[in-house]
């Protein structure tokens, strides 16, 4: 037991941070936010060339097979840098494809995409929620009706990241009319340019796009199935846990940076003849901020460690997300409070961290939803 970073982990964190410090300043972040695509293809290419898109993927696809804990660190740093790239949806989809292939019960398409995905030549995303913003099986209603060797999709998905940019979207559908149960779910790879697919990109608080996607009699070939038909929950559950933990890592990274900016500001900003950081009211607020963000980080890393060890991560992932959502929002709120009026000004950078980390805390399950998972896991329900 040693919950601190080991030498290798420190090296990865430091080199990722140096890269983002050099390549991803706030001018670049702002430029992408003002642009059309809301994603930086050049930064994406650089990340691919450095091998970080394949950090936790198997070597056979060109990946580095690093443990999930190291991927978690990459995400903390991407969050800290506000890297304007679809790292989260891409990684979630890639890891699930790799797991399905590894389990040996997967259509042929997944395997053929992974090498390109590892190199950054194929962008993947994923789609789970629909009307309800939940991440349980009850959120999946999109119907897949058998058609020869393949399937016909009827329905919709919401809150899909980078959908219009993606080459393939990993979609959860019901291959049996099983209502809200975790049975009868199947994961399928869908080309966003297929006939019958239409989407509307909607702007989020974070400044990126979340798409609403409609599927009208969309044909998907049989080789696009990922995992087993009707037994998609077996893959989806770990997929959602990884998605939740990586989302926490983004939030923690961005929130820590927002907090550090507030600490720095408190040292410089003078009021009543003293730096405001000398006032106890500010000092005690700052002490709480670092305590809360540290707590979120430890919970997140512990959940990542469970995943890396192949242990059941349902409870630690839910605990991390329930805590991180609310406590990091509180840290961001206090960071804004320390900045005072400047926190609301667009040309001042603080809002860049605030808006993104806050929006991320609204994705992939509310604290209430995750506490329901916790309550079940600790035997209260």
């Amino acid at each position: 037991m040693d919950v601190l970073l080991n030498d290798e982990e420190e090296m990865i964190r430091d080199s990722v941070r140096q890269f983002f410090d050099a390549e991803c300043d706030m001018l670049r972040v702002r430029g992408i936010e003002d642009g059309e695509q809301r994603s930086d293809p050049e930064l994406w290419r650089q990340l691919a060339e450095l091998g970080w898109l394949g950090l936790a993927l198997p070597a056979v696809y060109g990946g580095s097979e690093a443990p999930f804990t190291q991927l978690c660190l990459l995400f903390e740093e991407a969050g800290r840098a506000l890297a304007p790239i679809p790292l989260h949806p891409h990684s979630v989809a890639c890891l699930t494809l790799a797991e399905a292939v590894d389990r040996g019960d997967c259509g042929a398409l997944a395997e053929t995409l992974l090498s390109d995905a590892c190199l950054g030549d194929c962008l993947l995303t994923w789609a789970w929620s629909e009307r309800l913003p939940n991440i349980g099986p009850e959120a999946v209603g999109l119907l897949a009706v058998a058609d020869g060797n393949g399937w016909r999709l009827h329905g919709q998905k919401r809150f899909v990241e980078a959908f219009e940019l993606a080459d393939y979207c990993l979609v959860a559908a019901r291959t049996e009319a099983t209502g809200t149960s975790d049975e009868g779910i199947t994961l399928l790879l869908v080309d966003p340019r297929s006939d019958g697919v239409s989407s509307t990109a909607q702007l989020s608080l974070a400044g990126d796009y979340h798409s609403e996607v409609r599927f009208e009699n969309v044909y998907v070939a049989g080789d696009a199935v990922v995992g087993r038909v009707d037994e998609g929950w077996a893959l989806a559950r770990p997929m959602l846990e990884r998605a939740v933990v990586l989302n926490c890592a983004l939030i923690v990274g961005a929130t820590r940076r927002a907090a550090e900016r507030a600490f720095d500001y408190a040292k410089e900003r003078v009021a009543f003849g003293h730096p405001i950081g000398s006032f106890q009211a500010i000092q005690h607020t700052c002490a709480d901020m670092i305590t809360w963000v540290d707590g979120a980080e430890l919970l997140t890393r512990e959940a990542a460690w469970h995943i890396a060890q192949g242990l059941d991560a349902a409870l630690p992932a839910a605990a991390a997300k329930a805590f991180t959502n609310e406590r990091c929002q509180a840290v961001l709120r206090e960071a804004n409070q320390i900045h005072g009026g400047y926190a609301q000004v667009k040309e001042y950078d603080q809002q860049l961290w605030y808006r993104r980390a806050a929006a991320w805390s609204m994705r992939l399950g509310t604290s209430l939803e995750h506490r329901r998972t916790v309550a079940r896991a600790i035997g209260l329900v």
């Binding site: 037991m1 040693d2 919950v3 601190l4 970073l5 080991n6 982990e9 804990t69 600490f263 408190a266 040292k267 003293h274 730096p275 950081g277 000398s278 106890q280 500010i282 000092q283 005690h284 700052c286 002490a287 709480d288 670092i290 305590t291 540290d294 707590g295 430890l298 919970l299 890393r301 512990e302 990542a304 460690w305 469970h306 060890q309 630690p316 605990a319 329930a322 805590f323 604290s367 209430l368 506490r371 329901r372 916790v374 309550a375 600790i378 035997g379 209260l380 329900v381």
Partner: protein, 389 residues
């Protein structure tokens, strides 16, 4: 990052668990509760402490030369965790709280005398820091120690001196130079409690236990009771206080009211009925997440200490989060269990009336060993580098 325990750690955990199952009886636990309520330490407790000491489980991570066994401090953490899990109200940490300071600042003779006796439970210290005029502002202490011939003469008063009535020694902070800057004229003395001139008076507390006032009236002590340099006591004291705050036992105390609440809601018939409310489930799940943070903060402090790093602010974070969590837990539990939570004794009192005791006990944790406000200031200044003025 490694959040797991090694096979060796787990083997040791099983050994401790088996020992506790075999040697901890309801009678000895009752004896310990009675002692906390002011009775003398009973024979069963003394026997149990001796058995634990014989196995080398007190101060086990210390150097073998001083009576320890050079064990990994993670084993010590595991031991404390198991002791708490078995609900044994025995604070072995108190026995050895002053040991790091003695190891750091003591003479060879002091180390050889005190350390082996501490691990065997033969020497126990009461902590003589707080005075009527100040605890949080410790450096303003007024108790005087004046050099006199071959030793010192001590006059003054300490307060909230828990266990003074049953400790062999007091770890005393006193002023040796009234003209120096307030942090620079302080020394530490290891004073036997049976020295003439020391009077102990009980102060009975809400949870049903006692703390004390200790009066020093021309108490004459030998020169070798001085720990470290004369007038250098503040710097020893500060680091000992810091290390004293790490350890599994603390987090176990912070989270034990939560574990009792959870067990009651899961196991008890009325508890189950109360827990069928989704609002209750949500609040308890929130407390669960917060309890994990308390545990993780302790694991982090331990990881740092184990690497030889003196944590700049992390132990203070632990000391804010844990006690405030404990208070939140007991207040939340009180609004979940309602009238059952107030029952101090009687047939229908859940857990024999432990809930209201935990409620009033929790209060002490946010000011004992330094108030949470002082901790916040320490984090801001030492951890974050915020300016003094």
């Amino acid at each position: 990052m490694d959040f797991g325990f090694s096979e060796e750690n787990e083997r040791f955990r099983a050994e401790v668990r088996a020992f506790l199952a075999a040697h901890v009886s309801a009678e000895v636990v009752q004896e310990m509760h009675d002692a906390d309520a002011g009775a003398d330490v009973g024979p069963l407790t003394k026997a149990l402490i001796r058995k634990i000491g014989d196995r080398g489980w007190i101060g086990m991570s210390w150097p073998a030369a001083y009576g320890g066994r050079d064990a990994d401090i993670i084993d010590q953490y595991v031991f404390e965790e198991e002791l708490a899990r078995a609900r044994v109200p025995l604070n072995l940490g108190n026995f050895i709280e002053q040991a790091p300071a003695i190891m750091q600042a003591g003479t060879e003779a002091q180390k050889k005398y005190f350390l082996p006796r501490l691990v065997r439970g033969e020497v126990t210290f009461a902590l003589g820091y707080t005075e009527p005029s100040g605890g949080t502002d410790l450096a303003s202490l007024k108790t005087r120690a004046v050099a006199d011939g071959d030793g010192f003469v001590i006059n003054g008063q300490k307060v909230f001196t828990t266990r003074a009535e049953r400790s062999s020694h007091i770890y005393l902070m006193a002023r040796t130079d009234p003209d120096a800057a307030k942090h620079e004229g302080i020394s530490i003395f290891l004073v036997p409690m049976d020295t003439p001139g020391i009077t102990v008076r009980p102060l009975w507390t809400l949870p049903g236990g006692r703390t004390n006032e200790v009066f020093f009236d021309n108490v004459r002590v030998a020169k070798d009771t001085l720990l470290g340099e004369k007038n250098g006591g503040w710097h020893i004291g500060a680091s000992a206080l810091n290390l004293g705050r790490a350890g599994a036992r603390r987090y176990c105390i912070y989270v034990s009211p939560f574990e009792d609440l959870l067990e009651y809601l899961r196991e008890d018939e009325i508890g189950q009925e109360i827990a069928s409310d989704a609002a209750v489930q949500d609040r308890v799940a929130e407390l669960y997440c917060e309890a994990q943070v308390a545990r993780l903060f302790t694991m982090r402090s331990l990881s740092m200490v184990r690497r030889g790093v003196n944590p700049p602010y992390e132990i203070s974070s632990e000391k804010i989060w844990g006690p405030e969590f404990q208070v939140r837990t007991t207040e939340t539990a009180s609004q979940i269990l309602g009238a059952y939570h107030q029952l101090w004794q009687g047939e229908t009192a859940p857990n024999g009336g432990s809930f209201p005791r935990q409620y009033v006990n929790a209060m002490v944790s946010t000011f004992g060993h330094g108030s949470t406000q002082v901790m916040r200031t320490a984090i801001a200044r030492r951890g974050l580098g915020l300016p003094k003025d």
